[in-house]
């Protein structure tokens, strides 16, 4: 029983990370119908931005919650800018091309960030500075570290914040309109270019937050860390129903739970294969995902 609870706690914190990244996939897909392959690599850049900021401020060995928050916000701002730049220079020129062209461009951007990262940062993993003191809380027989707790809390706050932005603010309304029909939204006077840029900024900032949080819990960062995590987060977004914010959250948590569940069994080497097995299953059973609604396609 206790091991089960322990696995659930571990799964929740892993799932919360997938959820944070899945939110970015889901928002961009909702607005542009584009799988932003580079999103997982923005998460990697977030971790590296945090690493360089923390080292520049000399935080290694001087843990401080206040500075940790500032570093996270800084990494989020840097990645938001990177997201906007990627959209402007890579995706905008191909926006009116066939979707396949945009998809290949996205794969290209992803490879550029991964291998560009290897050239610039080096391929060997780096160790992320301890910005906050590590503590472990015990509840009954279940243990949780403050980093894992932080990940879960931040993910929940972000989800509610995002729901608020999308459903209660002016820019959120514009996002929903653009998602519903880009050309009509434009005719109604919505600056769709700005809405798309905002979507990329927001999604990239969330990925950066995910990157810093993960680096706090597992302090090894390398330029290819976004590849697998990004793909699994994408599967999470599809599982929840792509385009749906609560869906991304639920999908992320489910993938996290399944993965930690499998790690505890004899089949732990198959851990990386779970997400894709799940993806194939959803595609057969319910392609629109848990929270998605099926859309009738017309010519």
């Amino acid at each position: 029983m206790e091991t089960l609870l322990q696995q659930i706690i571990n799964g929740l914190s892993l799932g919360a990370i997938y959820a944070l990244i899945a939110l970015g996939y889901t928002m961009v897909y909702g607005v542009l119908r584009l799988i932003n392959f580079a999103h997982g690599d923005v998460y990697m850049l977030g971790a590296f931005a945090g690493y360089f900021l923390a080292n520049a401020l000399g935080l290694d060995g001087h843990p401080s919650v206040f500075w940790a928050i500032l570093v996270t916000i800084g990494a989020m701002a840097i990645c938001a800018a990177i997201g906007v730049v990627i959209e402007r220079f890579a995706y905008k020129p191909v926006r009116h091309h066939p979707r396949l062209t945009a998809l290949i461009t996205a794969i290209g951007v992803s490879l550029l960030l991964e291998y560009g990262g290897q050239v610039v940062f080096g391929a060997t993993p780096r160790f992320f500075p301890q910005m906050i003191e590590s503590r472990t809380y015990a509840l009954g027989g279940v243990q949780i570290t403050n980093q894992n707790l932080l990940i879960i809390v931040v993910a929940v706050i972000v989800m509610f914040g995002l729901e608020y932005i999308v459903h209660r603010t002016r820019i959120g309304k514009a996002m929903r309109a653009t998602s519903y029909n880009l050309s009509v939204a434009k005719l109604m006077g919505i600056n769709t270019d700005r809405v798309i840029a905002f979507t990329f900024a927001l999604g990239s900032a969330l990925a950066a937050a995910g990157g810093v949080l993960v680096a706090l819990a597992i302090p090894r960062i390398d330029p290819l860390m976004g590849l697998m995590t990004g793909l699994k987060a994408f599967v999470a977004a599809v599982l929840g129903g792509i385009g749906s914010i609560p869906g991304a959250m639920v999908g992320g948590v489910l993938i996290g739970l399944m993965e930690t569940g499998l790690s505890a069994t004899a089949y732990s080497t198959y851990r990386d294969a779970v997400a894709f097995g799940v993806l194939i299953l959803i595609l057969i059973v319910r392609p629109s995902g848990i929270f998605g609604s099926s859309v009738v396609e017309k010519v």
């Binding site: 890579a90 091309h97 066939p98 979707r99 550029l112 291998y115 697998m228 392609p287």
Partner: protein
């Protein structure tokens, strides 16, 4: 073409391949080709098979698979497994050994057929669920499939797991590599010009319209996918049994799939000659840049990535677009007695590359 001429053509091609094999593998008189160049020529042939077969699904049918290396791995491991564990028994039935003469001919044929069947079955398993849906999902599923295959291979001790399948016998030679490349080109070209190929072209241009016109879209897509996967499996079988090239799951990952995609994107998605051109260029070019790559590891992939992005933004049609280079084309250019009606790709003008099909959400 009458049957007599067909047989004659096949005989001439086989003789030419055998002669090429003799020159490159063994040399003529005192002439020996530099083994390093011979190896590059081998890799060019295998990459041509990979690129042309991927072109069937990505170019002709307009679907987007990024798991070609996964099928290559399935075929490669199945083919190599057969040779290593049953090769001697198979060769014994004709009274030979797997390494020479008739024995090697029989073993190689059996091994490549096994690779094709295994990869084709894998293609069926992956294709049926994912090809019912359109577009982007196939990309993710094939990518995921490639990773699953890698994880599974790592966990099979009989094929060496993470250390690679070092027991493989080097029975691949230039003859086999180029026989497979020619066969692949002929198969894909014949598909292009058949009812099947026309159906795939219709699916590429507009899937919903094609379905409304009575094209069995899923069936054709799955069939194309299975053929493409089977051919990749044969390429894998050749690659796995190449001299001093141990099969290793690490070499058949996502990056390998991307390399093949860059080849067809550079050549022109949908063009067979484009795929051949792309495969040749992108096999020789990295070799020319080898010293450069050793100084800055990872830079080769950065160049590939930039090439992909810039091609998509400035020339999504690649070098060839959907055009084909053929003898008729040269005759026309030369003002000779070419027949304008013999163009290979009449679907060229209906290609998706020229028209925006982006769904702006009016559904």
């Amino acid at each position: 073409m009458p049957i007599g001429r067909k047989l004659l053509t096949i005989a001439i091609v086989l003789a030419a391949l055998a002669a090429m094999n003799q020159i490159i593998e063994y040399g003529v008189g005192d002439f020996r080709i530099n083994p390093y160049y011979a190896r590059i020529i081998s890799l060019v042939g295998i990459n041509i098979t990979l690129a042309v077969s991927l072109n069937l699904i990505n170019g002709l049918a307009g679907q987007f698979s990024i798991g070609h290396a996964g099928f290559m791995a399935v075929g490669g491991y199945a083919a190599t497994y057969l040779t290593v564990y049953h090769g001697a028994a198979i060769a014994a039935t004709v009274g030979g050994t797997p390494m020479q003469g008739v024995g090697s001919l029989v073993v190689m044929t059996a091994s490549l057929v096994t690779g094709a069947v295994a990869a084709g079955l894998a293609g069926l398993v992956v294709g049926i669920p994912s090809l019912r849906l359109k577009g982007d999902y196939l990309a993710i599923v094939t990518l995921g499939f490639g990773e699953i295959i890698r994880v599974i291979i790592l966990n099979i001790p009989a094929v060496g797991g993470a250390t690679g399948f070092t027991a493989a016998l080097p029975i691949t030679n230039i003859f086999w590599i180029y026989a497979v490349a020619v066969l692949t080109i002929v198969i894909v070209r014949n598909i292009t010009q058949s009812t099947f190929g026309r159906a795939l072209g219709a699916i590429r241009s507009d899937e919903i319209a094609a379905e409304a016109m009575g094209v069995a879209t899923t069936r054709y897509k799955v069939l194309a996918f299975v053929i493409s996967a089977a051919l990749a499996g044969v390429a894998g079988g050749l690659w796995g049994q190449l001299f001093a090239n141990p099969l290793n799951p690490q070499n058949l990952n996502f990056v390998k799939s991307i390399e093949v995609i860059v080849m067809i994107v550079l050549g022109g998605i949908g063009s067979i000659t484009g795929a051949v051109l792309g495969a040749t260029t992108l096999t020789i070019l990295p070799e020319a840049l080898r010293t450069f790559d050793q100084q800055f590891p990872g830079l080769r992939m950065v160049l590939y990535a930039l090439l992909l992005i810039l091609l998509m933004i400035f020339r999504p049609d690649g070098i060839m677009g959907r055009r084909e280079l053929s003898l008729a084309w040269f005759r026309r250019r030369g003002g000779g007695p070419g027949q304008p009606g013999t163009r290979v790709a009449p679907l060229a003008t209906a290609g998706t590359a020229t028209r925006s099909t982006r769904d702006e959400g009016d559904g």
